[in-house]
Symmetry: D3
């Protein structure tokens, strides 16, 4: 058995030792959401987990077991929650999960928690859950700090240009498109049906949301832009560049915080 950064594969004794040494915990958050005929329903989980694993390796951290189910898919970012296959939680449940996990890691003695999001619609609800938890922890006198991010915010413009060559359709319609498909081709090719990609024009979505959704606004593929230009090499590039940017930025942030609290003795809280 080899060493791992995945909490789910760790035994409790090893986990406690790592937490005792000050390891931050990184929580990948995804969704079970349709991603067209060529990508699996867990695409967002796998990509969040892959990014989290690389970050954990870079910052000597632990990847928590993933949050598998996420907030409802919205038509302008994920096709809409009327589509079969997409399996979502209400906002209050996502909030409760983020809040409780933060409190649980704090109880273990963890002092830095990172929520690494892979499903656009989750973000604000994760924020609220973490906000409630950290406010409570401050009131109880515990110094626990949380970071929230969506991994695509760390894809830089140069990489976009290198991959899309001027045809970047915008993040808003990247659902099931070149970025996600390329990353999956690189990371989990056995789960991609490249031959089933539907090469349709990008969705034309309004500047507002409408509910109930109008199903006809979502392309029949369920994807908001075409993945026809996706490639394994683009995926590798995206993973490398984004992982590096995450390691730089978040790593620096975690070290900064660590210095501040270096004199405190980490360890499980008695409550």
């Amino acid at each position: 058995m080899t060493s791992t950064v995945l909490m789910e594969e760790l035994d409790a004794f090893t986990y406690r030792e790592m937490v005792g040494r000050g390891a931050p915990v990184i929580v990948p958050v995804g969704a079970i959401e349709q991603h067209g005929p060529h990508l699996p329903l867990q695409t967002d989980v796998l990509l969040a987990k892959a990014m989290s694993r690389r970050l954990a390796e870079d910052v000597d951290g632990i990847v928590a077991a993933p949050v598998v189910y996420g907030y409802k898919s919205q038509q302008r970012s994920g096709g809409g929650n009327h589509l079969a296959g997409t399996t979502s939680l209400d906002a209050t449940t996502v909030i409760a999960i983020a809040r409780t996990l933060t409190l649980e890691f704090a109880r273990h003695g963890v002092r830095q928690v990172v929520f690494l999001n892979g499903h656009f619609e989750n973000y604000q609800f994760l924020y609220e859950g973490v906000e409630l938890a950290t406010t409570e922890l401050v009131q109880r006198g515990l110094k626990v700090s949380a970071i929230l991010l969506s991994y695509w915010d760390f894809v830089d413009d140069a990489t976009i240009e290198e991959i899309y060559r001027g045809s970047f359709p915008g993040w808003d319609v990247e659902h099931g498109g070149v970025l996600e498909t390329s990353l999956m081709l690189h990371l989990h090719p056995e789960l991609v049906h490249a031959e089933r990609v539907m090469d349709l024009p990008a969705a034309q979505l309004p500047r507002f949301d409408r509910l109930p959704a109008r199903p006809e606004l979502t392309p029949v593929s369920g994807c908001l832009s075409s993945a026809a230009a996706a490639s394994e090499s683009a995926g590798r590039l995206l993973l490398e560049r984004t992982s590096a940017a995450l390691a730089d930025t978040i790593g620096a942030e975690l070290r900064t915080q660590h210095m501040v609290t270096a004199h405190a003795t980490p360890g499980p809280n008695t409550l």
Copy 2:
């Protein structure tokens, strides 16, 4: 007494008559949030209400009484909820308000509800509330349709260029900046302390959120960019262009929906 589109000023009999004629209801949603030393705490409420009023006049609609208190200010879009003056609700409360108002207007016989948002952080929570309500209404067999929007999504690039002349700092740091200050100078000059604008560099904010917030990341003004270049004329331009875009886009959407349901007889539901 003159005619009004403001529900708060209407008596119930006139309101019912307007609803009976098929008037959509537009709900302005704001916040009580610090906007620096030169703008009042209700800035988001006033701007959402002004935009709603113009839209209502264009589409023969009704402006609901505003939702005054909104979701917590976030550091990257509003300076952060640690600042005194900013007075916010939890996510579940904002969700409940949006859900219940949608159900109440549906009970009145309203068939089209528009939530017009003036505070960035509200959006996803309004979405959830409206999603819960419209799903319930569909299950009960009621055809009610809701639209959600943030008014700045209707400011076009040409207007931005005309006002900022190449120095647009990005929407993310527009809190208390040129856009909001110009609109307020045009709409409510008596509430603006132009002489107190603090001409500081735009905030440098990271690509992630951190909680608890680091107060030092927010400029001492509480504004994320400088309002020094704001002017009444820019405000007038912004209001005119944005109102026109709203009237075009949302007006068309409302008319489309109306045609579909024209044969149904609107009227108060007995429950």
Copy 3:
């Protein structure tokens, strides 16, 4: 720009200065509720706000932005929540609003919060929200004190007699009647359709509640007693007498509390 006691018109810097000097915050709580064909839907908001403003001026306080939407109208006090126009929140939402606002003002450094109610049905739910907040604050070691009141409890018998001359129908049926209409004629005549008052007998309501409500028990005007005898002068008298009683009673209470805590240094809490 002149000085104001309205938080919504204050900028954050001035607000903080006033809080730093120990100003109490007075929260007007109303409702969007039908008040017959002659009064606007926001009647309860406007009256709570007017009373709050006078009290703030007398006690050197601040009037918070109003709570605009309130608890469901009940048939025996407001005609019932089956009527179109009346737009209400569930109990849990009203509770959450009162609880959160109290906690937010406490975070700002406010040490005295007054909820001034203008809609009968709100009272117990405001109480619960404030009870939850103050209990939590005591547990966290913060000395914050809250006062709750409905303004009509400060109308004295002599004034009632002076205005009604023996024909006072009782507070239970004063919805949309002489008191509210007179106050509105004095404060906001432009919003009153005096000519549309329906001079109907007072409602005969049972000693119990029934749900679902029997619509036929509410007069067709939506008012529980006639406003035909309302007048601007009665409104002025009511406002003066009630404001004076509020200033005396609540002012004394606020001063008492202030003396007790005078040695503590008010100021924003770091949480």
Copy 4:
């Protein structure tokens, strides 16, 4: 074994038979609340139950098992929830209990539910619970009607005068006073320590609520007025008159409703 109207003593088969014949269900709601040194903590439960039993006998109904714990005692009506012995639920729990019981009785096939309240502070929360349930039942197409009342609203002025001889202190300070003590002396003399009554002046309570409560405003007895004048005969009179008024008013209301729905076949819902 003799016949009973108490659901708690009935077996399920007999209960179903009674429901099948159209029996209304009356739910007594009390509290566990200090009532001074002379009355037991369950006073409100016992009085609500006694009134319910008489009403059930008069209208051929069933008395549900009592709701024993109620909403928090308030200083102006019950001495305050800071007193030991008083054991209370939060508002949301009382609301949930009232809502769920209404839905459960509706599931059994009951068509008329009466909540008979014996603790002042419960009323609005029971109302909300019943409102939520009956609204849901209407939406599901079930004709279930609910009545809510507090028994003291059926004590008439003549009885008050006969008992108090002009010294009635007002309902607001009747907690642990002549009314409750007299009723208990008549119904449960073995639970009354008449010799421990503390003959103190009635509480002087302000026209507002303050939280946290000022303990010194509640008399040391915990009672808001003196029970020294209580007697078994006054209790008998109160019980007879109030029961008769309840039987008349509520009995008539129940019969009215019954006629309307006489053609429907009552019986357990399959859900």
Copy 5:
């Protein structure tokens, strides 16, 4: 008037004295649930209360007013919640009741709370409520300890053998069977219709739950095994043995805890 351990019969002054001496509070938790044609709907309440009373007498404790309504009946342990007469609360309500009662007793100064359960389905929800409360109390620095138990876990194998003589059908189908009926014959014979016992074979229930329940799996009696062999003497034996085991085990546990905290001064908390 004689001494009592029942909180509901105690006045507040006597209750406070007992709490001040360190008395633990025992909370009987039951249900309103069909128990066939021969047992009353409150069987679980009465049995939990009887066991609690004996335990209180043995450990110098107080029996709280019972929690009368419990969690939904499940088909494999109570016949199912589709049956009329069974009147149940949702899980969140049971959780809230257990949580709040624990906090209220802690506020009174009680340092040991025992939840004595008489309805199988309640257990996990009581656990959650007590877990939430004790975690909160630890965070607030209060040393309050809670014990949870179901009384049948204290019936030993020898007693089972003595009563059933090898025909014990298993606890899973003991609903309305020999154990409960015997205990009721001993404790409340006037509430048992022994002549109406339906002598049917024990229910054959699967190793899984199915929802919605299949009504045909529950015997028409509503009982999961026959009570034909029940007797008053078996009830007396069960009560004696179980009470003794409870007194031994729980009594020892309470004394252990008491020694630990003996130096602390029990008394009402100021919050």
Copy 6:
């Protein structure tokens, strides 16, 4: 790419096809919980997933993405929730997850949902979530049926005897013991540190729960009984026998239900 029964690996189009053919969905539910020094934190997830996969293959079903985080570990069944590594959700969150997933699968057109539990403490909360969902679905007229089970209820006595040879310590202390360790040795040997098994006596746990837990009652290993006798062959036997029992029992139940609804046309619901 080969065929799979795992929803997480399926694309949405294939998933819809399988649902359209009437495939039941099986939801594995686990926990992140310490299992001693020799088993990974995700043991309960992996075992529930393995059992679900075999059942899905036998009944032509789909395995939903697992519910990874579960309810709090209890001392008598999992060592207690005070231990670091154990990472748990509150009851209301587990209930919400089970409720929402059932509703989401129903929205997809699924007509049979099975929750296959691998963590003792989850069961009652899953039950409540499923109960709420199926009750709501019945009220909306949708025929959806749910099954709940814990896999160890399908381990028969003969297998127990074959593996333990008379030394079975009871299910209550099987946490981290022979059963789970053997199954993991068979299914995921790379995740087991067999050499780190601590061969301690089985825990002696009382017949009641106490909160806060007494840490000293849990063996230092975190396991409630020794896994020293675990073996890969015992794991294979357990998996085969249990899978067969599940296939027989649940397969039969699913076919029964299927016949009943064979005439209905499965397919995604429009809501």
